[in-house]
């Protein structure tokens, strides 16, 4: 009896201990799960950077886009995952006193154009149609890979747009506009086609907040440089170049991003505070209601940096020496040579041949429907007027 009692005591103690350990394990599981829920689930990063303004005096819009390009490349997104659209060429513009450079700070401190830049859509290719095609993926089959946004449902995409805008629209190259409704619909198409996991939309134009008012797809966070009714102002002119170099909002965003490195833990709340009204003169706005996570848990590098899968290996590979290959093929050449007759180059200007060549006969195409119809009408009218008895004289 006492033994069974002891046993039962031990058993209960044992089960209590087990339950306790299970409980703690379960608690840590739940914590892990909770952490996982707040961490972003993306596996790759893309960036679409668009400058929509043409002409030399809009230098600052190109400099804005290139400074975001530079930050995004520095933080790890490769060129193959960036679609850069610049509506005009400022670096090699005849009016640029320092060719092949685009500066963001006056006194030419920082050349954001750099030496390793890949512009995917340039000059006349930056149109509303091409932009929407890139976003939705509906591009003609012959488009090269560098001009496509090949995102999937685990991609975090950063979309940055700058240029001249108004209440509800953004102007492309002084000839067309994109409205906030079109943009919202394009994002909805992207959501329906599962082309993004999370999307960060930044716009630096006048009345920029109107562009994100109409979004209705989930997982979109938006930032704008000014509210409806306000203008976004430019930062500082450079007397040597003669134009304003950057817009204020993007200038301060660039300064903020220069402090970030790929391992930073800075979150979106800091980005929201970037340009207060005292520095920017306009009031930057943001919209997070469509976004599922709390902005304070979203890292800057979730959008501006890149997730890379790296496998470290310690085995060594020996490469073969080239000279062996070259010697062996030398011998092969000498052996097989005497078989063929010598080939020759074409004559660049064979005058005699050109003078006597006949012009190529164009392929004969049968007459089209219009011509046939016209002749049928003429013949019908003729026979109606003059009677069918004339037919035997014609045919």
């Amino acid at each position: 009896m006492a033994v069974s009692y002891c046993l039962s005591r031990a058993a209960t103690a044992f089960t209590a201990v087990l339950l306790f350990s299970f409980g703690s394990v379960a608690a840590s599981h739940i914590e892990d799960q909770a952490e996982q829920f707040f961490r972003s689930g993306h596996t790759n990063n893309w960036a679409v950077l668009v400058c929509t303004s043409r002409f030399w005096f809009n230098y600052r819009h190109v400099a804005n886009t290139l400074s975001v390009y530079r930050s995004v490349k520095r933080l790890g997104i490769p060129d193959s995952h960036i679609v850069l659209m610049l509506a005009d060429d400022m670096a090699c513009n005849p009016r640029n006193p320092k060719p092949a450079t685009v500066f963001s700070h006056k006194n030419m401190e920082l050349n954001v154009y750099g030496d390793d830049v890949e512009v995917d859509y340039r000059s006349y290719e930056v149109t509303v149609e091409n932009f929407l095609r890139v976003l939705t993926g509906r591009i003609p089959p012959s488009t090269p890979r560098s001009k496509r946004l090949l995102s999937d449902d685990r991609s975090n995409i950063l979309i940055y747009m700058t240029g001249h805008g108004g209440n509800g629209f953004l102007k492309f190259q002084d000839s067309e506009e994109i409205t906030n409704i079109e943009l919202a619909d394009a994002f909805e198409q992207m959501w329906q086609k599962r082309r993004y996991n999370e999307l960060l939309f930044i716009i630096d134009t006048c009345q920029g907040a109107s562009m994100y008012e109409r979004f209705y797809s989930p997982n979109i966070m938006a930032l704008a440089s000014s509210q409806v009714g306000e203008d976004s102002l430019s930062h500082q002119p450079d007397p040597a170049i003669g134009v304003h170099l950057m817009d204020r909002y993007t200038f301060y965003v660039l300064e903020f991003l220069e402090e970030i490195n790929p391992a930073s833990q800075t979150n979106m709340n800091d980005l929201f505070q970037v340009c207060p009204k005292s520095l920017c003169v306009s009031t930057p706005g943001h919209r997070t209601d469509l976004f599922q996570r709390d902005p304070k848990n979203v890292l800057i590098t979730d959008f501006f940096g890149s997730v890379r899968k790296v496998e470290i290996t310690t085995e060594t590979i020996n490469l073969q020496q080239d000279s062996e290959i070259m010697e062996s093929s030398y011998k092969e050449d000498q052996m097989g040579e005497e078989l063929m007759e010598p080939l020759k180059y074409a004559e660049q200007l064979p005058v005699a041949q050109i003078i006597h060549q006949k012009p190529k006969l164009k392929d004969w195409h049968p007459p089209g429907g219009f011509i046939l119809g016209l002749w049928a009408l003429i013949i019908m009218v003729f026979f109606k007027t003059y009677g069918i008895k004339h037919m035997k004289f014609i045919f």
Binding site: S142, P144, E337
Partner: protein, 511 residues
């Protein structure tokens, strides 16, 4: 037995040296060269050429091993059955009059011409797809090439490589004059090079210097060539060329001394280890005459002479693969210095200031014999205020004639004369030295017809405006502010009128 079998297997598996795994060893080689040509106008032209020759057959299917030949272009040749491809991007224009004939000129903008092989069935479709792929590779808007800007030349643009028959049906040519060349086109071009701006001549390719030029042209040429002098087999040749012309005034600050560092802001440090030849040629023809000498520093070890473009030229050769060259100094900076005798010209120029002083240009020049010298100056007339016009502005504005004061060598030596003895017509100008005489000549004055404003317009405008104001505004003003009274007809004689007059004075209502 069991131990012997694995041993046998082991022996079997050991590969011999030099590749049983390579089915067909394909050799490719790289040659790079830079030609520096001082131009007659004081500028310097630099032409880079990188040639990768790939000894393999014309048909490209099934090849997957690329060594020096870039994979991007090799796959293009295979997929679109290309025979030749020539693509160039140019900014500027080669001024043959000032710079002499070019090695290879290209039109401003982008030019693409391609010969397809005769196995291609739909040439237009391949052409369209090819231009799209190239626009992705070179970051250019070549996708705008379509039937509206493509032609099929029937007599020119014969293939530059090996060809047995040339049916022009397989040739397509397009030019996009609006295409801009900038760093984004140079970057993929550089990435096609085997040593890719890390070693050899390609370290000099820095965008911020290459685009600060009067002429910049980069091109890619692919064609089949003879493998050797006997020409029994074919190799693919990829030539990447880049020509730039550095302007003496922009880059050189007016001085004609050039060096690699001044042109490219870099010097050559080591040769490309993958190159079989890496040379720099400097054109030193015609510069050893009495007038001026060109000194090249460091002194070249060898020179090369040949007939190029119709004239005999001499080049100083610097071989980067020659170990002595690089070991002497750790970098190679070729300098060109001009040693000229002191100038015996003189120029004085005083620019004009509006309403203060005119332009003044004085030049002392020595005219070479049997030549024609033209001097021209461009100027602008400032916009005049309306009070500064003459009453007859449509006559035009006069520009004062130019003056030429010359010392002309005389055929017969003159003796100095005594002014009092000789006739008056012989003593206009003093003669110091009998071998030449002084003469002063004038050109015609220039009458320039400038656009004149219409001086009657202020009067017309005032009349019209006043009329409009008077009629419209005046009428409205009257309608709005005038009140109308009904007036009784006047009755009564003079007495009544006088009485009314007195009553009005008193302020009493009239009768």
């Amino acid at each position: 037995m069991a131990a012997a079998m694995p041993l046998a297997l082991f022996v079997l598996l050991l590969p011999g040296p030099g590749g049983w795994c390579l089915a067909e060893p394909q050799r490719d080689s790289l040659r790079e060269e830079l030609v520096i040509t001082p131009l007659p106008s004081g500028d310097v032209a630099a032409t880079f050429q990188f040639r990768t020759r790939w000894d393999s057959e014309l048909q490209r299917e099934g090849v997957s091993h690329y060594r020096l030949f870039p994979k991007a272009l090799g796959q293009l040749i295979a997929k679109y059955s290309l025979r030749e491809l020539h693509l160039s991007f140019t900014q500027g224009f080669w001024r043959t009059r000032y710079w002499g004939p070019p090695f290879l000129q290209a039109p401003s903008g982008a030019e693409l011409w391609v010969w397809f092989q005769d196995t291609v069935t739909d040439v237009d479709k391949s052409w369209k797809e090819l231009s799209n792929v190239l626009s992705g590779i070179f970051c250019a808007s070549l996708n705008f090439i379509d039937s509206t800007n493509t032609v099929t030349p029937t007599a020119s643009f014969k293939p530059l490589g090996l060809a047995n028959d040339t049916d022009h049906y397989f040739l397509r040519y397009a030019v996009l004059p609006r295409e801009v060349v900038c760093t984004e086109n140079l970057t993929p071009w550089k990435k096609l090079l085997p040593c890719s701006s890390k070693a050899g001549l390609s370290v000099l390719l820095k965008a911020d210097r290459l685009f600060h030029t009067s002429y910049h042209s980069q091109a890619v040429h692919i064609r089949p060539v003879c493998r050797n002098a006997r020409c029994t087999s074919i190799s693919w040749e990829l030539r990447q060329t880049l020509s730039v012309v550095f302007d003496a005034f922009i880059t050189g600050q007016g001085k004609k001394d050039w060096s690699l560092f001044r042109m490219f802001s870099r010097t050559l440090t080591e040769p490309c280890p993958l190159a079989s030849e890496s040379r720099v040629y400097v054109d030193i023809t015609n510069y050893n005459q009495d007038n001026e000498t060109l000194e090249v520093n460091p002194a070249p070890t060898t020179t090369y002479q040949d007939v190029i473009l119709g004239t005999r030229k001499t080049y100083a050769v610097y071989d980067l693969l020659d170990t002595a060259m690089i070991h002497n100094s750790r970098n190679l900076n070729i300098q060109l210095k001009w040693k000229r005798p002191p100038e015996n010209g003189y120029i004085h120029y005083q620019p004009a200031q509006d309403r203060l002083q005119p332009h003044l240009l004085e030049m002392l020049i020595q005219l070479p014999a049997n030549s024609v010298t033209k001097v021209s100056i461009q100027f602008e007339r400032a916009l005049l205020k309306w009070t500064e016009y003459t009453p007859d502005p449509n006559h035009g504005f006069y520009v004062s004639p130019s003056v030429l004061s010359a010392l002309v060598p005389s055929m017969v030596a003159a003796k100095p004369v005594d002014w009092e003895e000789s006739p008056l017509f012989n003593s206009l100008f003093p003669v110091s030295d009998g071998s030449n005489y002084f003469v002063r000549l004038y050109t015609e004055p220039l009458l320039v017809n400038l656009p004149t404003p219409d001086f009657s317009m202020p009067y017309n405008v005032i009349c019209l405006t006043c009329t409009v104001v008077a009629v419209c505004y005046g009428s409205f003003y009257n309608l709005l502010t005038r009140t109308f009274h009904i007036e009784e007809p006047r009755t009564g004689g003079l007495a009544k009128r006088l009485a009314n007059f007195i009553r009005r004075i008193r302020g009493v209502p009239p009768l």
